[in-house]
């Protein structure tokens, strides 16, 4: 019963956060000093253009009313119409989001072995040459900004070893093979950035578990190292890693912006950049809100997972 109440309050908290996010986005975009129109076009805007934009954004109605109307639309999952293209935002967003979802899914498929295998090796060979070597490599990768990493991979696999296309431009007529070639570079970049974070967490988590009494017990019972690692240590080290993975999902929303820009992949990230560069107000609001919701949902799922997986957590309070 208690656990149900905890889960419910955690879900409610997420909804409240999402509501505040919508308020922040709306006020940042529309309530800043100076009106939206002149911020969009500078001083070189005719009265006629001004009137068109003001009408499109309903700027003549009070801000509160506009906010509530926007909120009402969002609840029905309708984000309105873009200014630049004059098309429904859902129509514009749909294909971009599905492209990015494919990219994200592939990145996560690569992410799992790329973080589990090095971290396990490090934990087993603790403080050895291999462990320290991997630590140095992860530290260097951790310190390489993702846009630099993406550019370096591009340089390696496009310029020095011309195996992959320089621009990952795909559309609905692209063949499966073209998709694969287009996705390799951005997916590898994203999974590399994500696993570097996870490896460092997972290594420390694994070592802590390996030092615990029940692993000692298993060792004394004569179980093989491999069984101990896979059956006993890894599942227990996964709980702290769950939070890192949630953070990684959140990173992914910003990461796709960078990586999609580097390879020219037509996804959610590229759309976000375009929306911001053109100051397409409804599209900005939609993309930022979606990015924030992904973060909130990912954290919610990680917390629910932690509550369900860890009996000790069930007795503690939900607030962090």
């Amino acid at each position: 019963m208690l656990i149900l109440r905890m889960l419910l309050s955690r879900v409610l908290l997420s909804i409240v956060t999402l509501f505040i996010v919508s308020l922040i986005i709306f006020s940042m975009v529309e309530l800043l000093p100076g009106d939206v129109v002149s911020r969009m076009h500078g001083r070189m805007v005719t009265d006629e253009q001004r009137a068109i934009i003001r009408a499109a954004l309903n700027l003549d109605t009070p801000a509160l009313e506009r906010y509530l109307r926007w909120l009402g639309q969002i609840v029905r999952l309708d984000f309105g119409t873009t200014l630049a293209l004059n098309r429904p935002i859902n129509e514009v967003l749909g294909p971009k989001i599905s492209n990015t979802l494919i990219l994200a899914a592939l990145s996560f498929v690569l992410y799992l072995p790329m973080s589990l295998i090095p971290a396990s090796i490090q934990a087993i060979r603790r403080d050895g040459v291999v462990d320290q070597g991997i630590s140095v490599v992860t530290l260097i990768l951790l310190s390489t900004p993702d846009f630099l990493l993406a550019t370096l991979l591009l340089l390696t696999f496009v310029v020095f070893f011309p195996l992959l296309p320089a621009m990952s431009i795909v559309d609905h007529v692209s063949t499966f093979w073209e998709w694969v070639r287009a996705l390799i570079l951005p997916a590898v970049t994203l999974s590399l950035v994500m696993s570097v974070y996870a490896i460092r967490f997972l290594r420390d988590g694994l070592i802590e578990v390996l030092d615990s009494d029940y692993i000692r017990m298993a060792e004394l019972n004569g179980l093989s190292r491999r069984t101990i690692l896979w059956r006993h240590a890894l599942p227990n080290a996964l709980i702290p890693t769950l939070n890192v993975t949630a953070l990684n999902v959140a990173y992914l929303m910003g990461g796709v912006v960078i990586v999609e820009k580097v390879v020219g992949f037509p996804g959610f990230g590229s759309l976000t950049i375009d929306a911001m560069l053109m100051l397409d107000v409804p599209l900005i609001e939609a993309t930022v809100l979606i990015a924030a919701s992904v973060y909130i949902v990912a954290n919610l799922l990680a917390d629910i997972g932690a509550i369900l997986l860890n009996p000790r957590l069930r007795t503690m309070t939900a607030s962090k």
Partner: protein, 301 residues
């Protein structure tokens, strides 16, 4: 940061400082020493570099454009005939100044809000924490881009805007951390005593809580400062940060990305610089956290 000086009482005052720092240095983890040296290198480059650089940051016609690396132009020459090596050196103080001021702004405002929130509690705490939580939910890069975008074209490329954007990204994160630290501090007796003395809240936060959260906030500062060049570089890379011809490294990487087929060596300058600076900052942070963790009692008590 207080490391005990057992048996050093006899040393004269003027000497004791040097001994103290020398000992701190010797006792510091190796990662901290390496990081500190890298950082020192970049600080020196930032200060004296502009006077020693062979060419100006925007000086054109320094050689044959895109002619690759040579002894006079270790990182090559870009498409406009500018010396990349000189540009990187001239960029050092820009990157460092932007990073430090943005981090400092975020840290000062964030720790003030967090400590106050924890000390006062109640609905103010609730509001500050909910808003911070909501702002953290917006991915940091998208939040920074949003701030730059809504500021409008007249602010484009303004260093103040870049500092503000990064600071706003940092404020809610520091607030949350400072509040967590304050929850531990407010249970201490000296806070109760200060409260009973009738000190106003702001004074308790500044005079009693802030000094006792220094250790946590110092590590936070180092962590954030380590990420600031990346965030500023990302903004520059995406066209939301500094504008050409500013020799900001992220912006340079974005500019020279176009030259990967013609003269890839131009990428080496800003790339290596940015990566080593961040490695240095991260090593320092790691070492600092370990040093403060070891003498943690002296910090929190």
């Amino acid at each position: 940061m207080k490391i005990s000086l057992v048996g050093d009482a006899a040393i004269t005052k003027s000497n004791s400082w040097r001994v103290r720092y020398a000992r701190m240095w010797r006792e510091s983890p190796r990662s901290f020493r390496i990081g500190f040296m890298i950082l020192l290198f970049w600080v020196v480059v930032a200060i004296v570099g502009p006077f020693l650089a062979p060419f100006g940051p925007t000086q054109i016609g320094t050689g044959i454009p895109l002619s690759g690396a040579s002894w006079e132009h270790p990182f090559g020459i870009d498409q406009l005939g500018r010396d990349v090596f000189s540009r990187v050196i001239h960029g050092a103080h820009i990157v460092l100044l932007l990073s430090i001021s943005a981090t400092l702004c975020g840290l000062v405002i964030g720790s003030f809000l967090g400590l106050l929130s924890g000390y006062i509690g109640g609905w103010l705490d609730e509001i500050i924490m909910r808003v911070s939580e909501a702002m953290i939910s917006i991915p940091f890069l998208i939040l920074a881009m949003l701030i730059v975008a809504v500021a409008g074209p007249q602010w484009s490329g303004n260093p103040i805007l870049v500092i503000v954007a990064v600071a706003i990204v940092y404020i809610p994160r520091t607030t949350r951390l400072a509040r967590a630290a304050s929850l531990d501090i407010i249970t201490k007796d000296y806070i109760t005593i200060a409260r009973l003395r009738g000190e106003p809240s702001l004074s308790v936060v500044r005079r009693e809580m802030l000094p006792n959260a220094t250790g946590v906030l110092l590590v936070e500062f180092a962590t954030r400062a380590g990420f600031a060049p990346v965030l500023i570089g990302s903004l520059g890379f995406l066209g939301f940060g500094m504008r050409p011809p500013t020799p900001e490294w992220g912006l340079m990487i974005s500019e020279y990305r176009e030259l990967i087929f013609l003269s890839p060596v131009t990428l080496a300058g800003p790339g290596i610089s940015l990566a080593t600076l961040v490695v240095g900052l991260n090593l320092c942070t790691e070492g600092l956290a370990r040093m403060l963790g070891r003498s943690g009692e002296g910090v929190s008590a």
